[in-house]
């Protein structure tokens, strides 16, 4: 793997005039240096496209009862459905085409993960900026709460909330947000604290610019890089956490079958050898989570200048 990148890298480096690069171009070319991360990114784009276009590229809507035939239940991969099309990934216990069910499940898993990730990001960013900018007692109180929450694993926090709140899509999103906001707050606060004491912030304050403008126009943009890294990794863990809760039966309801629900439904058939009902949704979940993590891992290397000068081979 390393030999391939070593061969590919030199010609690019000689062709590109170094002084003409914008930061964004440099970022893109550095990102593309890693074949694994590039492949993961393309995979991710493909997965998102499949999820978005699911209704147009699947043979059936698995939750339209008129299109599902119970007689098709538990068919092996490659069997022909009653309606005439081939079920390449087989069918589940209720006769749904698994390929269709997986794409629809991806939609739900991705949207829950991304929605909760975004809400947690916004809340965490606001809290982190507030803590770093105001300092003093406010910062102390906020960071105490953040530290306290981070001393419990996110999965446990989410599970506790679910135990308290009960099932439902809104409750899952709420649990994921509460379980994750502290990670964002800690990240933003750490980088905002560094930025706050730099000269440009002092200069802006001397010019009489309002606090809000300093925070949002000057400090916030400089905290985005670590936030993006944490955001990708946290979104992956939100998706996998939702799947875990759903698998345990305390997550998404049967009416919103995410990948975790599909896997849970297939579990009972697994011991009798009908592996595909659980395995294929699981593979979809896996590819999604691993792709996001690989992209996030490489983003961290590219966006963190400290690591590049160090052991950044």
């Amino acid at each position: 793997m390393s030999d391939a990148t070593a061969e590919a890298a030199p010609p690019e480096a000689t062709i590109q005039p170094v002084d003409a690069e914008t930061p964004f171009q440099r970022f893109v070319s550095e990102f593309l240096d890693s074949k694994v991360a590039t492949a993961a990114f393309l995979f991710l784009l493909a997965i998102i496209a499949l999820a978005i276009f699911a209704p147009w590229i699947t043979p059936q809507n698995p939750y339209d009862l008129a299109q599902v035939d119970v007689l098709d239940g538990r068919l092996a991969p490659g069997s022909e459905a009653f309606a005439g099309y081939t079920m390449w990934l087989g069918s589940d216990g209720a006769g749904r085409d698994l390929y269709s069910a997986i794409l629809y499940g991806l939609r739900i898993s991705l949207s829950v993960g991304v929605t909760s990730g975004l809400i947690a990001l916004v809340i965490g960013m606001a809290v982190g900026l507030l803590a770093a900018y105001t300092g003093g007692r406010t910062e102390n109180v906020i960071m105490r709460i953040v530290d306290l929450q981070l001393s419990f694993p996110a999965a446990l926090v989410a599970l506790m909330l679910i135990a308290i709140l009960g099932k439902g899509v809104d409750k899952i999103i709420l649990a994921l947000v509460v379980a994750q906001w502290a990670y964002y707050a800690r990240t933003v606060r750490a980088s905002a604290l560094v930025e706050r004491h730099k000269e440009y912030v002092e200069a802006a304050a001397c010019l009489g610019i309002s606090h809000a403008r300093i925070v949002f126009r000057h400090i916030m943009p400089n905290c985005l890089a670590p936030l993006i890294v944490v955001g990708t990794v946290q979104t992956a863990s939100a998706i996998s956490l939702e799947a875990t809760l759903s698998f345990l039966g305390v997550g998404m309801p049967q009416t919103s079958p995410s990948l975790g629900v599909l896997i849970a439904n297939g579990f009972e058939y697994m011991l009798s050898g009908r592996y595909w009902i659980s395995v294929f949704p699981g593979v979809a979940l896996l590819v999604t989570v691993v792709s996001i993590n690989l992209v996030g891992d490489h983003l961290r290397d590219v966006l963190n200048p400290r690591l590049n000068t160090g052991g950044g081979k």
Partner: protein
Amino acid sequence: MSVFIIRRLIQASLVVFLMSLIVFFGVNVVGDPVYMLISPDADQAEIQATIARLGLDRPIHEQYLLFLDGAWRGDLGNSFVFGEPALRLILHHMPATLELAFTALAMAIVIGIPLGLYAGLYPDQAVSKGIMAGSILGFSLPTFWVGLMFIMLFAVVLGWLPSTGRGDTATFLGIESSLFTLDGLSHILLPALNLALLKISLAIRLTRAGVREAMGQDYVKFARAKGISTKRIILVHVMKNIMIPVVTVMGLEFGALVAFSVVTESIFAWPGMGKLLIDAILQLDRPIVVAYLMIIVLFFVVINLLVDIVYSILDPRVRLQDQGA
């Protein structure tokens, strides 16, 4: 020193008190367990009797005070479903969970540290890259999914190991555990490995980072210059320095293992307190949920407290910093 410990103790009890408040009021807003527990054809008098028996007819703050009063005496209410004290049920299921978590922790240390050591010493070798890729997978793969694959591979396809339940137990040195029988060992292997996977990855990464950092330090160069063998440098000088943070983190992770065993126990039908919790959530058995959450919070608070105190003994800066804040 004692001031530091007292401060930490006060903080810890505050956390437990806050959690009891959140947990109790939260749980009481969820649903109405009366209708979960009484058959639909019960008459009004029966329903009233049950409500009175469970104390559900009192105002919620009175219920909370009763709960606090009970909690103080170690009585967290009776399970709605089993009719037994919730705390006793949980304590009854706890050994199975602790056994699983301890085995997983031991696996993480025994497997993770040598692999991390190797990857840290020879970072450019293909094997090391394989180890690191494996550790990324260990972090990314959802635990429940790996558990499913274990069951499919080892129980269904190969038929080597049982996939559900806890095996025979035997008593050794006063501890009853399934680790002392062959049947028990065969039952615990898959779930423990499943639970350990995340921590193995963590141990690999921590050890590797520690080794890579230590190898460049002056004391290693000095030891080399003195002509000490590489083996001794690594096993005595380097290991001594990196083991402290690694073991501390792994110790802290014990709480996480107990919490995560909820997932593993559900997959492998391991009769621990995690499975009890999931069943209780599904059946709206509030006392069990409350008791479990309180115990797990207590667990974490105690672990964090111990780590804080041990740290402050090892590193006086921690306690000075705390006094300054």
